[in-house]
């Protein structure tokens, strides 16, 4: 077993464990913080795949913005912070079984893909992934349209957020 595999397995275990904690912990804020751990684990995976840009963006956007937004939302709903009620329904085993089945199916599918166990080749020396990404994002025969459409999508999200926030204000 290589060192890389050990780090990968540890990170994977951390992601799974923290994801489980997100749904099982009783305090909402703890759930949000466990989610941060999960997201950080994903960033580590990106770093291991030599996707530096994605790894850093994962931390900037997901931990720096989305997790903070979650924590704000959790803190604004003060009474629900310490939920004492029943956490599971009586038929909890059914979705659990379903989830396991889907997992088994996915594992089966992934194992069927030829070359799924291959180690990715190292990037050539001096290869700057961010620059290549940038060139692809703005050159007309690549992804310039999605790039511009993304800004329209962000605009739509902003308008939607403003509308929803303003809805409560009206007399």
């Amino acid at each position: 077993m290589t060192a890389e595999k050990i780090i990968f397995l540890l990170t994977g275990a951390l992601i799974l464990l923290s994801a489980l904690m997100v749904v099982s912990t009783r305090k909402l804020l703890h759930a949000a913080l466990w989610l941060v751990v999960t997201l950080f684990g994903v960033a580590v995976l990106y770093a291991m795949l030599q996707a530096s840009f994605l790894a850093v963006v994962q931390v900037v956007v997901y931990i720096g913005a989305i997790a903070i937004l979650f924590i704000f939302a959790v803190m604004l709903t003060r009474r629900e912070m310490r939920d004492q009620g029943q956490q599971t329904r009586s038929n909890w085993w059914l979705p659990a079984l379903l989830g396991l089945l889907i997992l088994a199916g996915l594992v089966f599918l992934i194992l069927g893909v030829p070359g799924a166990d291959r180690v990715p080749a190292a990037l050539p020396e001096g290869f700057d992934a961010v620059r290549v990404l940038g060139t692809a994002l703005v050159s007309p025969n690549a992804y310039v349209l999605p790039f511009e459409v993304a800004s329209v999508l962000l605009l739509a999200a902003l308008v939607g957020a403003v509308y929803l926030a303003g809805a409560g204000k009206k007399p």
Partner: protein, 408 residues
């Protein structure tokens, strides 16, 4: 391997020697490399911590001078031993955890606050040969470390189970996330000018010309938003002693409080360092002087490190200068200043050099620099005109509302 080799590239010299020593003992190459990394990192972090202790003294001395006092002057020459006494006091103080606190998060928060600052030292280029790592996404890494700091403050505020702490944490987060936008936008300016995100590349691109000359507005916006990120006056609503006693760290005592304090000081110094790197040529930027015969010694790693620390200290001093000169601003003013002024201005300050850089790059250097500088002057004067017109309008509206004074 000679002494001259050591002087020219100390880190590589020691690393080679250590690796040779360790592999000589029969360690595998990979393990030896990792061990050398660990030793190097430990030395770098310990250096940062020792510097941090020095910063306590600097901060107290400088604030004393600003307030016309003497500052610490009893322990040792110029009170230099005072910070060590402070640390001993912090370590032997009783550590109180409030009754309703969330113990685990309460204990993690100060460590995370320290880590978010220490992590920045991994990319801080002390000199062309002495640095942690030269990443090609270094500027985003800087922002990512800031995100961890935000998280630490929220955790501290929430876990204390204290109204003041929670209010302080909320304000701090609103402050930090707001000012992150103009900061990230102006980080794009050095990226465009140097055509790279690596801090070494940005430093070397400024050998002939500092980016502060090409984009003074960018520097100014970075300076303001750095102060806001640090939560220092005039943006210190988190602490706001007069209303929140101490803000998010009100329930912390002993060494846990010590880490919040230490990481704030180190953070300020580190941001001084990044200001030097991004806009003032970092360890270099001698305007080509190092190429003149007789000045070659300027590129010696130790001289470069000294230059870098001097520049970073100056940045840190400028941050202190602002801190001890200005009063605290109100939260609505703070947010309005960011979203209605700094964000639009930073976007303009980014778009203009992006176009001009593309258009002017083929011209001789002095014309290029003049064009960039002039565009900044135009934007700045335009902004001032708009502000003036706006305040005139506001004054008119106020005058109309308030009753006219009666003339006798």
């Amino acid at each position: 391997m000679t002494f001259a080799d050591f002087l020219n590239n100390p880190v590589n010299f020691i690393a080679d020697w250590l690796t040779g020593l360790l592999t000589g003992w029969g360690l595998p190459d990979a393990l030896a490399t990792i061990l050398v990394y660990v030793i190097g990192i430990t030395v770098l972090i310990v250096f940062a911590m020792v510097l941090d202790i020095g910063l306590v003294w600097v901060e107290r001395k400088v604030v004393a001078r600003f307030q016309d006092r003497l500052g610490p002057n009893r322990l040792g020459p110029f009170g230099l031993i005072q910070p060590f006494a402070d640390i001993i006091k912090l370590v032997i103080k009783e550590d109180i955890t409030p009754a309703g606190a969330d113990k685990v998060i309460f204990n993690i928060a100060p460590v995370l606050a320290a880590v978010s600052v220490i992590a920045l030292w991994a990319i801080l280029p002390l000199s062309s040969k002495i640095f942690g790592v030269d990443m090609n996404v270094a500027l985003l890494y800087l922002v990512a470390a800031g995100a961890l700091g935000t998280l630490a403050i929220i955790m501290a505020g929430w876990s204390s189970n204290n109204k003041y702490a929670l209010v302080g944490a909320f304000r701090m987060v609103a402050n930090m996330v707001s000012y992150e936008i103009p900061m990230v936008v102006v980080l794009l300016i050095p990226t465009i000018l140097a055509d790279t995100m690596s801090v070494q590349g940005i430093t070397q691109a400024q050998d002939g010309l500092w980016f502060a000359i090409l984009s003074p507005l960018g520097f100014l916006i970075f300076f303001i938003s750095a102060i806001a990120e640090l939560g220092r006056t005039p943006f210190d609503l988190i602490e706001a002693e007069s209303e929140l006693t101490a803000g998010f760290n009100v329930e912390y005592s002993g060494m846990k409080f010590g880490w919040f304090y230490a990481s704030e000081l180190l953070h300020a110094f580190t941001f001084g360092g990044f200001m030097a790197v991004l806009f003032f040529g970092g360890y270099g930027g001698f305007f080509g002087l190092e190429k003149v015969a007789g000045f070659g010694w300027l590129t010696n790693p130790f001289i470069e490190a000294a230059v870098f620390i001097a520049k970073a200290m100056f940045g840190y001093w400028a941050i202190m200068w602002v801190k001890y000169s200005l009063p605290r601003i109100r939260i609505d003013h703070m947010l309005a200043f960011n979203w209605k002024f700094l964000v639009p201005l930073s976007l303009v300050a980014l778009a203009t050099p992006a176009i001009l850089h593309k258009v002017l790059i083929d011209l001789p250097t002095w014309q290029y620099a003049l064009g960039m500088f002039a565009s900044n002057v135009v934007i700045a004067s335009g902004t001032i005109e708009i502000l003036r017109a706006n305040s005139r309008k506001q004054r008119k509206a106020e005058e109309k509302l308030s009753p006219q004074p009666v003339k006798n």
